[in-house]
């Protein structure tokens, strides 16, 4: 048996203990399997495919119905649909991708196994948050929205780059909200079904709730998709200031979810 003294010993302590190894494993699950290209393909088809279909199909349909649309009208319709579909679709996608991340490991016992090694509970949670955020950002938003930007700027060369980027920024915050919510419910819950029920209720039920209580627009992410298209069409500096409030608050909610998750995971019994 070769002695341990010959090795470079991992000496990280505190909340970062094991983080590097856990991140390596979590990133490997995204990038060293076929998961990355399947996700990329799905979101390219969903977002860019849908956008192309809309930009080609809607004007044709309008001409056939005898009420042709102007380029500006087509652009505006496509913009609303792009951010509407993206925020709902990516919201559902991120929930499905992350719903089993924490609860699955808690129930199967792999979490207890990992935490019996030199790894901290906070590192276990953060590795999932960081890896899923990074991978989601690139595969579900970054690459498809590069394509969407090319398509939309081709349709309207005067489209504001800053406005588009700001809207994508709001979409990232929207997605991050559901990702952090999904992980948090996974930390707190004891059953898989609870994670899916709570997060889906937040995403789908939130839209319905906002139709009843309009003020929710200002405190929740439920109306962010409408704000995203307004940011692009009017420019980030021209939209009413109060429309930035839900963007900021959605980010704040995510931070609260992260802090609650960390608080709870340090107290969990495995």
């Amino acid at each position: 048996m070769s002695a341990n003294q010959l090795f470079q010993i991992e000496k990280t302590r505190g909340w970062r203990m094991g983080l590097r190894n856990l991140l390596r494993k979590e990133n490997g699950e995204w990038w060293q399997t076929k998961r990355w290209w399947i996700q990329m393909l799905v979101w390219l088809v969903v977002i860019d495919g849908f956008l192309l279909f809309l930009l080609i199909g809607v004007p044709e349909a309008a001409i056939l119905s005898g009420q042709p649309l102007s380029d500006a009208e087509v652009f505006s319709t496509a913009l609303d649909a792009l951010f509407g579909i993206a925020s709902m679709g990516i919201g559902i996608g991120v929930i499905i991708a992350t719903q089993d991340e924490v609860i699955g490991e808690k129930l199967s016992g792999t979490a207890a196994w990992v935490l019996s090694k030199p790894s901290s509970r906070v590192a276990f949670y953060l590795s999932k948050l960081i890896s899923n955020s990074f991978s989601t950002l690139i595969l579900m938003i970054g690459i498809p929205f590069l394509g969407a930007f090319a398509i939309m700027s081709n349709k309207n060369p005067e489209m504001s780059v800053g406005g588009f980027l700001s809207a994508v920024g709001a979409l990232i915050i929207h997605t991050f909200f559901y990702l952090s919510l999904s992980l948090m419910v996974g930390v707190f819950a004891e059953k898989r079904s609870v994670v899916l029920a709570v997060t889906m209720a937040g995403l789908l039920g939130g839209q319905l709730m906002m139709n009843i209580i309009k003020e929710l627009l200002y405190f929740t992410p439920f109306g962010l998709s409408q704000i995203m298209s307004a940011i692009v069409s009017q420019g980030p500096l021209r939209i009413p200031g109060e429309l930035w409030l839900p963007v900021g608050l959605t980010f704040l909610w995510s931070v609260i979810f992260i802090l609650l998750s960390i608080w709870k995971i340090r107290r969990l019994e495995f």
């Binding site: 341990n4 010959l6 090795f7 991992e10 494993k25 016992g109 792999t110 196994w113 019996s116 030199p118």
Partner: protein
């Protein structure tokens, strides 16, 4: 590591879940360089104790230490020196055995890569999984998972190996393999393993700790525990007329009682004695002095662990 100090020590370690007291004031001691069987029926509190020792759960009361370090406050340092195999171990199913080992090893070592890979090979060889190193874990049998579990627990050459039911749910061959691996590791590390399979404990353990309903009911070396409560008695199986021998033995001062029995047409005598030295020195000679008698078997009766355990648990 100080060889004289206990590796694990607990003081009134307790754990409750609401009104259910899973562990009640446990005071256990695990000596260094030993294999300690942690025995108890299902639900006795064995896994709860192990989770408390590893910091996966927090005690309601009491304290404990491993290598002299507090299990609550110095848990990170403890886990650097411990290997753990959970009951029904679950690993990431898509990973190969080698990837599981690499993932585990990198919690302990940053490099160099060649040494880490050599250690992984060595440990997989130890448990006989070298030919399955590159297969995903999802295709592994129960025994292979268990052996992989032992390999990953051993990858950092821990000073203490904690195994929770390492041979449960295995077929006899799987059990034999796991016990053989434990035997191989005996000279390198202290092993603390929970089980409800008494044969396994008797086969490999130096020490036994018995838990029932969350309470410690016995602890000590296997020899010590088995020699308590049985009295001193010897068994003889004879062929021929044993009447004279029986009478002769009964007349000896150090013999308490001779119980006559029959075994497949032969005579079986159980001889209860008061003086171990006299018995060891003279008992067989006294019997053999009768030339009409043939001795087929002679041995000292010992309580086996199963009897001892059942007496304790049922008595409790």
């Amino acid at each position: 590591m100080d060889q004289t100090k206990p590796v694990i020590q607990t003081q009134n370690l307790s754990k409750s879940f609401g009104n259910f007291h899973a562990l009640k004031s446990l005071n256990l001691t695990v000596p260094a360089n030993s294999i300690v069987g942690f025995l108890g029926p299902n639900g006795a509190g064995k896994s709860t104790t192990i989770k408390l020792l590893l910091g996966l759960s927090k005690p309601t009361m009491g304290a404990g230490s491993i290598f002299g370090m507090d299990i609550e406050k110095e848990n990170q340092d403890i886990r650097r020196r411990v290997g753990y195999l959970a009951q029904n171990p679950n690993f990431y199913e898509h990973m190969t055995a080698r990837q599981i080992m690499d993932f585990t090893a990198r919690f302990f070592f940053k490099g160099p890569d060649n040494l880490i890979q050599a250690r992984i090979d060595e440990t997989l060889n130890l448990v006989g999984l070298e030919n399955k190193a590159n297969r995903p874990v999802r295709g592994f049998s129960g025994g292979e998972r268990q052996r992989l579990g032992i390999a990953q627990a051993q990858v950092n050459y821990p000073d203490l190996l904690i195994l929770d039911e390492p041979a449960a749910a295995l077929d006899p061959q799987g059990r034999r393999d796991v016990l053989e691996v434990m035997e191989k590791l005996r000279k390198h590390t202290t092993i603390f393993f929970s089980t409800h399979i008494l044969d396994d404990v008797q086969r490999v353990s130096d020490h036994v700790i018995i838990l029932n309903h969350g309470e410690l009911i016995a602890q000590g070396s296997v020899e010590e525990l088995l020699s308590t409560g049985t009295g001193l008695n010897y068994k003889l199986v004879l062929k021929g007329d044993s009447t004279r021998v029986q009478k002769h033995l009964q007349s000896l001062a150090w013999v308490q009682e001779v119980i006559l029995g029959h075994q497949n047409g032969k005579t079986a005598l159980t001889i209860m004695v008061e003086d171990e030295i006299s018995a060891e020195q003279f008992l067989l000679r006294e019997v053999l002095s009768d030339e009409n008698i043939r001795v087929l078997e002679f041995n000292r009766n010992k309580q086996n662990l199963e009897e001892f355990f059942l007496n304790l648990v049922e008595g409790a």
